[in-house]
């Protein structure tokens, strides 16, 4: 379109022919590019704010699931069994010092008692850097991993037992072919065995016993009792790793370790333990075919909310990958319609108190009311409190996805393309039996639905946000705000590349004229500059990666990295100067200064592409990136030019304000401004110290979060280039005029 515009413009001088409509449209767009890009940005922001209005009600897309169509066999006896098991476990744990061994033995006996295949899976403790996830946790905002992680700090010092041990039981589906399985996970904390863990295991035993009687199973049921001494995630992750990519070369060492563990666990029985181990092949790592879905559940101590028994669904996997929406739908529908349990989605504490959000809610409610009074058909009004709730859910989900860390053990499944969720049930102190049977029935119902599923999860959405348990925003809707935010960037770049002068004489932007006259030289220089900065950004990522392997404190690592960053940036600019000089020598040796407009155009182009690519990797990161970077890219101008504009006669108050805002925004979002801003805004909430910052970055690296590549490969070079533009000097010949 743009290239046509240029050709057409050349023609226009000769013949006073009206150009084609498409070209005219393009010309108009470029003429009003500033207004349009600001409008687009505002529309994008508004679009994000009205997402709750655009949410649709969820529905179960896959007919085969048939949630709640069968009676649940989990009855009161089972719930009593769950409770008595929990009490038994607590007593056992209190009597024996080695909780891990006691609990494991008890579970193995239970599993064998119901005729299931059983084995243990010992695993080594995760790398020590895992502790860096404590940084976001220390904010007190939310519990990062599930209950078990809290004990980590206590155990860290002791180092008495270096590994955990999972116990796994498999119910073979009586009439199944044995090529598919559903995994149930119950994390328990062997380092601090409390009521919660006991309840979870008790429920697990009762459900497993119940399922072992079921003739309707089409898929094997694997019950993974995850030793969450180091958090539930590493336990589940190491089991899945062994399941999918066993280290065949180390089979013998693994087998030996397993047998040692078994001896240790079952040693109380003496000689007979060996026979049990061998006759039940407890040492074999048994498999059950392709894993179709995973369901993690745990029972937590808590209070009823609003007179209802609630439970929380955690679904965010690594880098914001979500399980199939149908999974959450069946949980919700069984919970709400059959068991009258209230499904909750976790929200970050505090979002609901944001004043501006409340304000937006109230005003949107007023607008809705007004619209309804105008036309009763426009029925989109939403109470302000509901709006705030939805927005808080949405923002929290986005926040979890931005960080890119999974919100629980279900995230480990996502690495193997298995859909999984975590259900966290809240049980009051004197856990009622009726609630246990409800939970059991819900779990059995969900499992039965999953069992009914003939194919893998493919019917419903994978790309969605939930604004409330039964309302979702599909990718179709949430891409629109991002599109609007990004739309300004290509328009701006086009305007910088092909400046269209208005017929009147107000085209004072002389900088532009340089572009068309001076052929490829300016472009090449700009490309070299932007390319060099991008390379530097890649190098900085690499440096972070390398330094994280260093054996020193976090503070020194951060310092080293910053020093390397600064020096390499200086070197980059030096190299870029030399290159630019050689280019200029070749092409007639015109003005030595960079043309800031070309640089800006190229920067905008790179940023736009980067953000668009990032949106496919991790959408919320891209969205937040667009919110931060778009105003900077559009609003950045050399300070010298802004100053001159402010001095000139043709200035307007709006223009000056816009320039000032652009400059301020650029400074704020820049690598220097951003930490200062974050510290001043959230310093009281987060524990921001250099060490913590480095640990956080390292943990992002370890979890392969997309936030880090965004920050280092898109945000950092873009803001450095914008700072460069801000500080760049105008061409000297222009200054002479």
């Amino acid at each position: 379109m743009e290239s046509e515009a240029v050709e057409e413009k050349a023609d226009k001088v000769v013949v006073t022919l009206k150009p084609r409509p498409l070209v005219r449209l393009g010309r108009q767009l470029i003429l009003h590019v500033n207004i349009i890009s600001i409008l687009c940005y505002v529309a994008g922001v508004v679009g994000i704010l009205i997402l709750p209005f655009l949410a649709k009600n969820t529905y179960i897309s896959e007919n085969a699931l048939m949630p709640g169509s069968a009676h649940s066999a989990f009855n009161n006896f089972d719930s009593i069994y769950a409770r008595s098991s929990a009490e038994e476990l607590l007593e056992l744990a209190s009597q024996n010092p080695d909780v891990q061994r006691t609990i494991s033995r008890w579970i193995i006996q239970e599993m064998l008692g119901v005729g299931a295949d059983c084995y243990i899976h010992p695993f080594n403790s995760p790398a020590p850097a895992f502790s860096s996830t404590r940084f976001p946790k220390s904010s007190g905002h939310f519990k990062w991993t599930t209950a078990a992680n809290s004990s980590f700090s206590e155990d860290e010092g002791q180092q008495q037992t270096t590994s955990g041990v999972n116990v796994v039981g498999i119910i073979r589906a009586p009439q199944g072919a044995g090529n598919e399985a559903v995994v149930l996970v119950t994390p328990y904390d062997s380092a601090a065995f409390e009521q919660e863990s006991a309840w979870t295991l008790g429920m697990g035993v009762a459900l497993f016993r119940e399922l072992s009687q079921a003739l309707w199973l089409a898929r094997d049921v694997v019950w993974l009792v995850a030793d969450s001494k180091y958090g539930a995630y590493p336990a589940v992750d190491s089991w899945l790793k062994e399941y999918h990519s066993p280290s065949i070369s180390q089979t013998s060492t693994y087998d030996k370790m397993t047998l040692d563990w078994l001896e240790k666990i079952l040693s109380e029985d003496g000689q007979s333990s060996k026979e049990v181990i061998h006759s039940q092949t407890l040492g074999d790592f048994k498999r059950a075919g392709t894993i179709a879905s995973g369901l993690v559940y745990e029972l937590n101590l808590g209070l009823r909310q609003g007179g209802k028994d609630t439970f929380t669904v955690w679904a965010e996997g690594p880098n914001g990958q979500m399980p199939n929406l149908d999974f959450i739908n069946i949980v919700n529908s069984i919970a709400v319609y059959r068991e009258s349990l209230q499904l909750r989605l976790e929200t970050l504490h505090g979002i609901k108190n944001w004043a501006w959000l409340r304000g937006a809610g109230v005003s949107l409610e007023e607008i809705g009311k007004y619209a309804r009074s105008v036309n009763p058909g426009w029925n989109f009004a939403m109470a302000a409190s509901v709006y705030v709730d939805n927005m808080a859910t949405l923002f929290s989900s986005m926040f979890f996805q931005v960080i890119g860390l999974p919100t629980g053990a279900h995230g480990a499944f996502r690495d193997y393309q298995i859909d999984a969720i975590t259900l966290q049930f809240t049980v009051t102190k004197n856990g009622q039996d009726y609630l246990f049977s409800r939970i059991g029935r819900l779990l059995e119902g969900v499992l039965r639905s999953v069992n009914n599923l003939l194919e893998k999860w493919h019917q419903s959405f994978f790309l969605y946000f939930l604004s409330s348990p039964n309302r979702y925003i599909s990718v179709l809707v949430y891409m629109i705000p991002l599109g609007l935010l990004l739309l300004g960037l290509p328009l701006q770049a086009a305007a910088l590349c092909y400046p269209v002068k208005q017929t009147s004489k107000d085209a004072k932007d002389l900088a532009h004229s340089n572009l068309t006259s001076d052929g490829s030289g300016g472009w090449l220089e700009a490309l070299v500059l932007v390319g060099a900065v991008q390379l530097w950004a890649f190098f900085s990522t690499l440096a972070l990666f390398l330094i994280s392997d260093m054996d020193s404190t976090a503070e020194t690592k951060l310092l080293t990295w910053s020093v390397i960053l600064v020096f390499s940036l200086m070197a980059t600019f030096r190299v870029q100067r030399a290159l630019a000089a050689s280019i200029n020598d070749e092409s007639k040796g015109s003005g030595g200064n960079q043309n800031w407009a070309t640089v800006k155009a190229v920067t905008i182009g790179f940023t736009c592409i980067g953000l668009a690519v990032m949106s496919t990797v991790n959408f919320p990161v891209s969205l937040i990136g667009a919110l931060a970077l778009v105003p900077m890219c559009i609003g950045v101008f050399p300070v010298e030019r802004s100053w001159r504009y402010a001095q000139s006669q043709g200035r307007s108050a709006l223009g000056v304000a816009a320039l000032a805002l652009g400059t301020l925004w650029t400074l704020a979002v820049s690598p220097l401004g951003l930490p200062v801003m974050l510290w001043s805004l959230y310093g009281h909430l987060l524990d921001i110290t250099p060490g913590n910052v480095w640990n956080f970055a390292e943990s992002l690296l370890q979890w392969r979060s997309a936030l880090l590549p965004y920050l280092l490969v898109i945000h950092l070079p873009c803001s450095v280039l914008c700072l460069y533009i801000l500080l760049s000097r105008l061409p000297t010949q222009r200054r002479r005029q």
């Binding site: 005729g115 072919a177 072992s212 074999d284 393309q417 893998k456």
Partner: protein
């Protein structure tokens, strides 16, 4: 007088009936002698309590026909099978329909029942043809269609060569020497098995399920079990090429009786509680009809140990049908003891309780029952190895198949393997569909985790590479393994192929099943030699004769599910829409460029010509000031908008009406 008149004819009628009946009887007895010569049918039911509380029932029907002629009349032998055999020149054929998995660890792996009746899920068919090589494949195709019709199953899907292998090594020991011909092997792992397959199978029996042992087959009970395998085995043997048809049904049921101890106790069972039906006598045309209760060696051993503990008489042995651990009723007619060879009976050996159905009638049914008196732990005899096959890797790109064999701990060196010296022989057969593209060079063997060069352990290896859409990859290996090894793993990497959109089966997102791998252990013999010392006559159970025959051990792995990349099947619609849009845009602009004449347009532009409406507007606008013009334009727009709004409002209003 009147009464006398009436008695005489009635007497006559009775006499006549008697005459006729005796004639009929003599005919039947004559027929029996004919059966003895040319055809023979026998039925057996073997029941074995399993260590996990379940009960194995093995129905065995053997049908024998001495001569096979196209015009020969058969009395009990199913004509469908004899026609099949003669038409397709079958030397041997085995067809099985299976639901569920055989649990080699808990239900036994080294006995003849497990070895020959543990089959992979779905349908498995193999046949040995006595035809020239160029006619094997057409004959196979026709056979699949014939069987498909006969057994109401989609066996005809095996006609396409992409799922059929021609194995050589694996059937070597089974076929023995003498029988030459060509083997074809095919499997349908996803075939569902139900009553529609059982009914035609029953039709092959002379009494169907109306009398004899098959009358126990109550459909709801037998399809509620943990394992269900229906098998048809046809073989021509002997110098006269007699046809032997073996029909077996192997089911593992969970007795439903609940005891006070819950699941930890062994449940009592009886034939009526297991099947919900009564066993009222034999099938009248059967030559022999027996019900057998097998008690495994380790169970007998435990029982004897328990008897010793309780202070029973050690010297005279234990009364097997009624002891301190369990009680079997009724008392058996004969007790058979397993022996190593003709007269050598070891101290502990399996015991077979025999019931001859001759003695039972419908008013006096046999209700074999087992009542446990105390909890007893024992384990079935396991094979030398436990075999598992699994996929590693994730994602839609690649992965690898691993077969892992681990030595069973309780297998002592003298158990089961009489020959072979210090080497263990294993034959592995694996058929993989073409869309799982194996890389044969990545085939690695590891013994106890250490890589071993293949040539060190392989004596023979046959590899048929896959050809896309033509035939599957077949891997056959004959391995000789050191006896002291603990585990062996064979891995081979593969890439996942893409299928055409029309090649996907229904429910394509389910994934694709790989047929079970199949292992044979020629050095491990499955044989249970039961010698009947009491009755040395010819009326021995034919099942016991089968058990007495030696055979090598066969083990199947489970089938595997490979998730392949499946297209979004709503995509064709999207593609069509997109393509049409692109084409429309392309051709539209092309036509536009071709049609437009720039010179002419310039001329027209200069002439300032326009449509009539335009001219009229120009005329109307003439002489108006700029402001007026603007006003008129704006009011025109407002007018159009107002008309639009009114129309929409009216339309809505009328709709409401």
């Amino acid at each position: 007088m009147a009464s006398k008149d009436q008695t005489l004819p009635s007497l006559l009628v009775t006499l006549l009936f008697l005459l006729l009946f005796s004639a009929l009887l003599s005919r039947i007895s004559g027929l029996e002698s004919v059966v003895d010569e040319k055809e023979k049918f026998s039925e057996d039911l073997l029941i074995r309590p399993l260590s996990d509380g379940k009960v194995l029932s093995h129905f065995y029907f053997k049908n024998y026909q001495r001569t096979l002629g196209s015009a020969a009349h058969t009395h009990v032998f199913p004509k469908a099978i004899s026609q099949l055999v003669s038409k397709f020149h079958i030397s041997e054929l085995e067809l099985s329909f299976t639901q569920g998995r055989w649990n080699y660890e808990h239900w036994g792996g080294l006995d003849p029942i497990a070895s020959s009746n543990a089959k992979p899920s779905g349908v498995e068919l193999w046949a040995l043809f006595d035809v020239p090589l160029n006619q094997v494949d057409p004959t196979w195709r026709n056979l699949t269609h014939a069987l498909s019709g006969l057994f109401c199953a989609s066996i005809n899907f095996l006609e396409s060569p992409e799922g059929v292998a021609s194995p050589n090594l694996i059937f070597e020991s089974r076929l023995k020497s003498g029988a030459d011909g060509f083997v074809r092997y095919g499997a349908l792992p996803r075939e569902a098995v139900c009553t529609e397959n059982l009914t035609p199978w029953l039709k092959l029996l002379p009494c169907r399920d109306k009398a004899g042992i098959a009358s126990l087959l109550d459909r709801p009970s037998i399809y509620n079990g943990h394992y269900h395998s229906l098998r048809v085995h046809v073989k021509r043997s002997g110098p006269e090429r007699a046809v032997v048809l073996e029909q077996t049904l192997t089911i593992v049921l969970q007795p439903t009786q609940i005891r006070e101890g819950g699941m930890k106790e062994l449940p009592h069972w009886s034939l009526t509680s297991l099947f919900g039906r009564q066993l009222g006598g034999k099938c009248p045309v059967a030559h022999s009809s027996h019900v057998l209760l097998e008690l495994e060696q380790s169970l007998v051993e435990s029982v004897k140990a328990s008897a010793d503990k309780t202070g029973g008489k050690v010297t005279s042995g234990v009364d097997i049908p009624d002891n301190s651990v369990f009680h079997v009723s009724p008392y058996p007619e004969a007790v058979l003891v397993e022996s190593l060879d003709s007269w050598d009976v070891p101290k502990f050996s399996s015991v077979m309780l025999e019931y001859d159905l001759e003695k039972y009638r419908s008013d006096q049914p046999l209700n074999l029952a087992m009542h446990w008196k105390q909890k007893m732990a024992w384990s079935s005899v396991r094979g030398p190895f436990r075999v598992s096959r699994f996929l590693t890797g994730s994602g839609n790109e690649k992965g690898s198949i691993a077969i892992e064999m681990k030595k069973n701990f309780n297998v002592s060196s003298e158990n089961g393997d009489s020959s072979g010296g210090d080497l263990l022989e294993v034959t592995v057969f694996q058929m993989v569909p073409w869309y799982v593209r194996l890389y044969m060079h990545t085939l690695t063997a590891r013994i106890d985790g250490n890589p071993v060069p293949l040539r060190d352990i392989t004596t023979q290896m046959l590899v048929t590479p896959a050809e896309d859409r033509l035939h599957p990859a077949v891997l056959e290996m004959h391995l000789k393994l050191p006896r002291n090894m603990v585990s062996l793993s064979l891995t081979v990497d593969f890439d996942k192929g893409f299928l055409h959109i029309d090649e996907h089966p229904p429910d394509a997102d389910h994934g694709f099943d790989l047929p079970a791998a199949f292992l044979s252990f020629p050095t491990s013999q499955t044989r249970r030699l039961y010698l009947n010392h009491q009755a040395a006559d010819n009326k021995d159970s034919s099942l016991i004769q089968t058990l007495n025959e030696a055979g090598s051990l066969y083990v199947y792995t489970t089938i595997l599910l490979v998730p392949l990349a499946t297209p979004d099947f709503s995509m064709p619609y999207n593609v069509i829409t997109f393509t049409c849009t692109v084409l429309a845009l392309y051709f539209g602009s092309l036509l536009n460029t071709l049609r437009r004449r720039i010179g002419e347009e310039e001329r027209l532009a200069k002439a300032g010509s326009g449509g009539k409406l335009k001219k009229a507007i120009a005329k109307f606008m003439e002489g108006k000031s700029e402001n007026q013009k603007k006003l008129i334009k704006v009011s025109g727009v407002i007018l159009v908008a107002a008309i639009g709004v009114t129309v929409s409002y009216v339309l809505e209003h009328f709709e409401a009406l």
